[in-house]
Every structure is written in structure tokens, then in C-alpha cells.
């Protein structure tokens, strides 16, 4: 399905409401006028994995019941460790789902279960590591058969070039990575994931450009850091929306994955419900967008917390409680008819602090979304989204940008304009050059779909 128009305008792009609400799992609804907490966790190192996941799930659900949580989503994000042993991921998921079913039955809590499969491919290997690709698809099959309700991934196609380009602030390399290589890889991968999800009658949730957008966010860092321009991180965020949109064009329906901050733009385009993370994911990483990113969420996540003992309980239980109170405020605002007012407060608290926050405010996100849908293909969409963000940032008087940021933006606008003039030719020529410079880059393997 090609998205050629924007589904939600700036006034409609608000937390708790999606154009296409979803119902799945154990009677869970999302995007239907309330925000659902989504808790994410990871086991302690050196523990028995099955025991650890069982303890986490039980602890989280017990706390949820104690707090009066009515709706909740759990997310298990697998790593290469769980995927190394055949069948282990499926066993873990089954064990967790059994517990969820028991709590749903005993306490009437509505539950959803997202499972994210790790992208374990080594793109430097022949055919992009076919063996690892098969392992990923087998894991999707296993977790789908054992109780997953939503399938997600943070796929990494194009990442080998992106890593090279982003630390050099090389926009052509970033365009080649996100708008060309990643697009090919997403198409191939999501065709398979959607197929598996449809066969099992569960949801293909969506992909996250974590490896791109969040890498840039981490490199940009805080207000006093200057590894890369914060404007570049904002531009990458805008560009990554066109890349992540490919999953939905292949049939994903949401809810989009939490760490995909580009989900604000994706939600504007698709109208599908989206999970997002911000201030309550500070346990996983810092950001300058902690409040503004909540403005349009349908699920609200903590990103990930280790199962370590804190004074108030184990990490996942504690963060579930924080998420619960976060969502209670949002849901309270909706119930009392003050959601747009509360949304404005969330936006205003961050919007002009940093370019990365600015680009994620619904009004700006809608402008970027509109730019994306006007273009025909992912490559042109990527370049146009980047150029739009660069232009908006450069023209915004309320943003306080330093000399370096201004200098970068000026150069970025020129560079993106230049690429837009002949995108296909420039990208194909550049990729030949990048193949010489980036050891793992094998362009041909991307094109063999």
C-alpha cells in the first residue's frame, strides 16, 4: 500500500487517538482514546534466562494488578543470546504468555505482548549472512506460534554505510544508507514478517530506525556535547521516517515500536497507533525530547530496564509504576476533555530546546509527513524529508542555534538540494565510491531481492 496523503493533521495528532485503532492479544485495544503503558525489560547477565523472564513477567503483572492497571503491553526484546539456542525464544515467549493469560483471566487486565526479534545479520558476510536471516525468520515463526501478539524488529540494513557516514556528517552517505540500501532491505524483510504475522493471525507491528535515528541522537548527546550537529540528528530523524514507512507499505499495521521516534511522522501519515518513549526511558538513554515525544503516543514505553533490585522493587516493576502514572495523567486529560491542553504543555516544554525536539513536535512532524507523501519513492522521500527539516530549522527564529549548527545547516541545505537534483545517479555513483571505503558494504546483495 502506497501512502500518498497525510492521515492526521497537527490538531488530530494527539496521544491516545489513532485513525485505525487496534484490538489484539488478551482483549487489548490501542489508539482508541487512551494511552497504554508498554513495559520493556532485560534479564540480568549470568542468570537462567527462562527463570529470569518468568520472574520479570510475574513481578510486572503482580505490580500492575496492585496498582489497578487496566491495560498493559509487555515487550520482550530478544538479543542474539536468546536466539543462539534453537527454540529458546519460543519457550521464553510461551512461558511469559502463560502467565499473562493467567493474570488476564484472574484479574481482568487487558494485555498485549510485543516480541522484537534481533537483527543478527553480519552485512559483511556473503548474501548479507543468509544463515542469520533464516534464523531471524525462524525466530519470528517460533515466537508467533508461542504467544506473541505483535512482531517488531530494529532492522539494520544500510547501517554499515550509515555508521561510516554519520560520524563524518556526510549527508550523501546517509541518504544512500537510509533512502536506498535500508529501503531495499526493509522491503525484503517486511514482506516476510507480514507473511508470518498474517499466517498466525497476529500483528506486524513495525520497524524502528533505532540503528540510525537513535545512533545519531546518542552521538548528538546533551546540550553541551558536540560530537555531531544536533541539526544533523534532527535531519536523520526526519529522513528515517521515509525508511520506516516501508514496513507499513509492506503491510505492517502497528502499533509501531517504541524506540522509533520517527513514529510521530509515521502516525501522521498512516493513522496507525504508535508506541513511543521519552522521559521514562531515561533508564536506557538520555534524550532532549522526553516530553514532546509523548504528544502523539498511543502506547508509552520505558525503552528497557534491567531486572536489578532497586529500593522500590525490581527495575521492570518500578518502571511499570512510573509508566502507569505517566499514562494516568494522559488518560485523565483525555477523560476530562483537556488532552489538547496537556499536549500543548508537553510540546512547549521541549520544542525549542533543541532541533531534535523541534522536529518531533506534531506541527513540524506533520509538515515533514506532508513532504514525504508528496514524493513517489523512498529515495526522493528521504532527501525531501531531510531538506524540509533543514529548511524548517534554519528558518525557525525561536530555536537558539550556535555558530557550528548554523554553519552545518547552511551546508546541509546546499548538499541536499544538490542531491535532489539527480538522486538516482548521485546515489549510484556514490555507492561505488563507498564500497571502496566501507569494508562491509556489498551493494549488490541489497539489490538481489
Amino acid at each position: 500500500m502506497k501512502f500518498d496523503s497525510v492521515k492526521l493533521g497537527p490538531d488530530q495528532l494527539s496521544f491516545g487517538f489513532a485513525s485505525h485503532p487496534l484490538r489484539y492479544g488478551l482483549n487489548l485495544e490501542v489508539g482508541k482514546g487512551f494511552v497504554v503503558p508498554e513495559i520493556k525489560y532485560f534479564p540480568r547477565v549470568g542468570r537462567d534466562l527462562k527463570e529470569e523472564y518468568k520472574a520479570i513477567t510475574d513481578g510486572v503483572l503482580k505490580r500492575a494488578v496492585g496498582l489497578g492497571v487496566e491495560r498493559l503491553q509487555l515487550e520482550t526484546e530478544l538479543t542474539y543470546v536468546e536466539m543462539e539456542v534453537p527454540g529458546l525464544a519460543g519457550e521464553i515467549v510461551r512461558l511469559q504468555k502463560d502467565l499473562m493469560e493467567r493474570y488476564a483471566q484472574e484479574y481482568g487486565v487487558s494485555l498485549g505482548f510485543r516480541v522484537t526479534v534481533a537483527d543478527v545479520r553480519d552485512f559483511g558476510k556473503p548474501k548479507h549472512d543468509e544463515q542469520a536471516f533464516s534464523k531471524m525468520l525462524q525466530t519470528f515463526e517460533d515466537v508467533s506460534s508461542n504467544g506473541a501478539d505483535v512482531l517488531s524488529i530494529e532492522s539494520e540494513g544500510g547501517k554499515e554505510l550509515f555508521n561510516y557516514a554519520v560520524i563524518r556528517q556526510d549527508l550523501l552517505g546517509i541518504v544512500c544508507s537510509l533512502g536506498y540500501l535500508a529501503a531495499y532491505d526493509m522491503k525484503k524483510l517486511w514482506k516476510e514478517i507480514v507473511h508470518i504475522a498474517k499466517n498466525k493471525n497476529i500483528l506486524a507491528g513495525g520497524d524502528s530506525a533505532c540503528a540510525f535515528g537513535n545512533t545519531s541522537m546518542r552521538l548528538a548527546g546533551g546540550l553541551r556535547d558536540n560530537v555531531i550537529a544536533h541539526s544533523l540528528a534532527a535531519i536523520v530523524r526526519g529522513m528515517s521516517a521515509s525508511r520506516s514507512l516501508v514496513a507499513y507499505e509492506e503491510g505492517a499495521v502497528g502499533p509501531g515500536k517504541d524506540c522509533a521516534y520517527e513514529n510521530v511522522i509515521i502516525k501522521a501519515i498512516t493513522g496507525y497507533p504508535m508506541s513511543m518513549e521519552g522521559k521514562t526511558s531515561a533508564c536506557a538513554h538520555s534524550s532532549l525530547v522526553g516530553n514532546v515525544i509523548a504528544a502523539a503516543c498511543d502506547l508509552w514505553s520505558n525503552e528497557q530496564v534491567e531486572n536489578i533490585k532497586l529500593f522500590g522493587g525490581y527495575g521492570p516493576e518500578v518502571f511499570l509504576e512510573v509508566l502507569h502514572y505517566d499514562t494516568k495523567i494522559m488518560n485523565g486529560a483525555i477523560k476530562s476533555g483537556r488532552s489538547l491542553l496537556f499536549r500543548e504543555i508537553l510540546i512547549d516544554s521541549d520544542k525549542y530546546l533543541d532541533p531534535q525536539a523541534y522536529v518531533l513536535s506534531p506541527e513540524v512532524a506533520c509538515l515533514v509527513a506532508d513532504t514525504i507523501v508528496r514524493e513517489r519513492d523512498t529515495l526522493s522521500r528521504t532527501i525531501s524529508a531531510g531538506a524540509k527539516v533543514a529548511n524548517l530549522l534554519a528558518d525557525e527564529k525561536e530555536l537558539v542555534l550556535g555558530k557550528g549548527e548554523r554553519r552545518f545547516l547552511e551546508a546541509a541545505r546546499g548538499r541536499l538540494d544538490d542531491i535532489y537534483g539527480a538522486p538516482q545517479r548521485k546515489v549510484e555513483e556514490a555507492l561505488k565510491e563507498y564500497e571502496r571505503k566501507v569494508e562491509k558494504l556489498k551493494v549488490r546483495d541489497y539489490l538481489e531481492v
Binding site: V166, N226, V227, A229, G404
Partner: protein
């Protein structure tokens, strides 16, 4: 007319000047142009002026000292003043390296001394390499010889590299808590191979801390790339 033009060229040469489009440049101007193109991160111009400098017989060592080193110093100051980004420092370092490559054939017999040698890699199971790459590039810009083993590196590969390369430092990176345990495996295997005392070990990455570094017997922990390079420099001094 032909005679008069060649006469002008000869005069210019005698005055240590050259004909450069669109204007005539003297030696100092060429050195400045190389320096400025490095500061402006303009690879093409830096290459063009370096080749021009060699054409007119400017001493390669002078180009390194007056253009590359001075340019890098300016870029470093701009970075410290938050005017430049670390990424630009890295690009400037790469341009500096490219200039040195052009000069290398003319530098035969002149030893370009390295600050030290570092074997670097992201540990087994971890494919995250961006932080490691930044450290590697900054080490190279600081005149270290870097042997980059890549990502997902087995402990045995670190040990083999230490035996083969005889580095001053082994640097390991891990983003994930599930992979950071491999750092201890590497250190244990270095001990078992009797090469632990021959190298300093530094670790870094989102998963690890100073405390963890101490607990596994590493010599140092770099909270970020700049600190990691600073520690390596201190060790080599």
C-alpha cells in the same frame, strides 16, 4: 608574446612564486592554502594544493609542519570552542592523513614516528562498532598506529593480535551488558598467554563503567572517545 610569458614564469620561480589559477601564489600562500583547505574540510582543494606544493618543490616536511599540523591545531581549537563538531575533527584528521599519503613518496628515508600502537575491537557477540570506530579514528589522528579488529571479535583474535602486533594498548568496546562479560574473557586469555603484562588494557562503551573496568582487571576506562585517547596518550608518555 611566447617569450615574454616564459620570462614571467621564470621570474616568478626565482621569486619563489608559482602560477596558480586563477592567481599567482607564493610558497607561504600555498602552505596556507593547504592548511585552510584542511580547516575548511575541503578534501579536493587540500589535495590540489598539496600536489601544487610538491610541483614547486616545497619540502614535504615543511608541508606537514606548517600546513597539516597547524591546520589540525586550528581545528582542535575550534572543536574546543564548540565551533566545530567532533565529526569535523575526524574528517580533518582523515584529510591530514590523505595529505601525508601524497607526501609519502617524497618522504622516503624520513621516519614518520608513531605515538604508539593500539589493537582495538568490539567484543564477541556485539556488532555495535560506531563508538569503537570513533576512538580508532581519533587515535589515528593522534598519530597512533591502530590495528582495528572490527566488531564481534573473539577473545582468541585479541590474543593473536597482541602476539603478532606487539601493541602498547588493547582497547575493547561493548554496548550490551550481555556482551561486556567477553572483556574479562579477553583479559583472562591474555594472562593465560603470558602477554597481559606486555600491554595496557582499556575498555569503553555504554555497557561498562570505571568500576567494571577495575573489577575485571583492565588498566583503564574511557567514558568517551576523547577521554579514551587521552588515557592512551598518557600511557605512552
Amino acid at each position: 608574446m611566447r617569450i615574454r610569458l616564459s620570462l614571467i614564469i621564470e621570474v616568478c620561480k626565482n621569486l619563489n612564486m608559482v602560477l596558480a589559477s586563477p592567481k599567482i601564489m607564493d610558497k607561504q600562500e600555498i602552505l596556507n592554502a593547504i592548511r585552510d583547505s584542511l580547516v575548511n574540510l575541503d578534501f579536493d582543494k587540500s589535495k590540489e594544493y598539496t600536489e601544487k606544493a610538491l610541483e614547486v618543490g616545497i619540502d614535504p616536511q615543511e608541508i606537514i609542519l606548517k600546513s597539516v599540523a597547524e591546520g589540525m591545531e586550528i581545528v582542535g581549537r575550534k572543536f574546543e570552542a564548540s565551533e566545530y563538531f567532533l565529526s569535523e575533527l575526524i574528517v580533518a584528521g582523515e584529510i591530514g592523513k590523505e595529505i601525508t599519503k601524497i607526501l609519502e613518496p617524497k618522504l622516503k628515508g624520513v621516519e614518520v614516528k608513531k605515538a604508539g600502537k593500539v589493537v582495538i575491537g568490539t567484543v564477541r557477540g556485539d556488532l555495535h562498532d560506531i563508538g569503537k570506530n570513533i576512538v580508532a579514528m581519533m587515535l589515528e589522528a593522534s598519530e597512533f598506529k591502530v590495528v582495528d579488529l572490527g566488531a564481534d571479535v573473539a577473545p582468541e583474535a585479541f590474543v593473536d593480535a597482541v602476539k603478532r602486533e606487539r601493541p602498547n594498548v588493547v582497547a575493547m568496546s561493548a554496548l550490551l551488558t550481555v556482551t561486556m562479560v567477553e572483556m574479562k574473557n579477553v583479559i583472562d586469555m591474555l594472562k593465560a598467554a603470558n602477554v597481559r603484562n606486555a600491554v595496557k588494557v582499556i575498555i569503553g562503551g555504554a555497557a561498562v563503567t570505571d568500576e567494571y573496568a577495575k573489577s575485571i582487571g583492565a588498566d583503564g576506562y574511557g567514558a568517551n572517545a576523547v577521554e579514551g585517547v587521552r588515557i592512551c596518550r598518557q600511557w605512552i608518555k
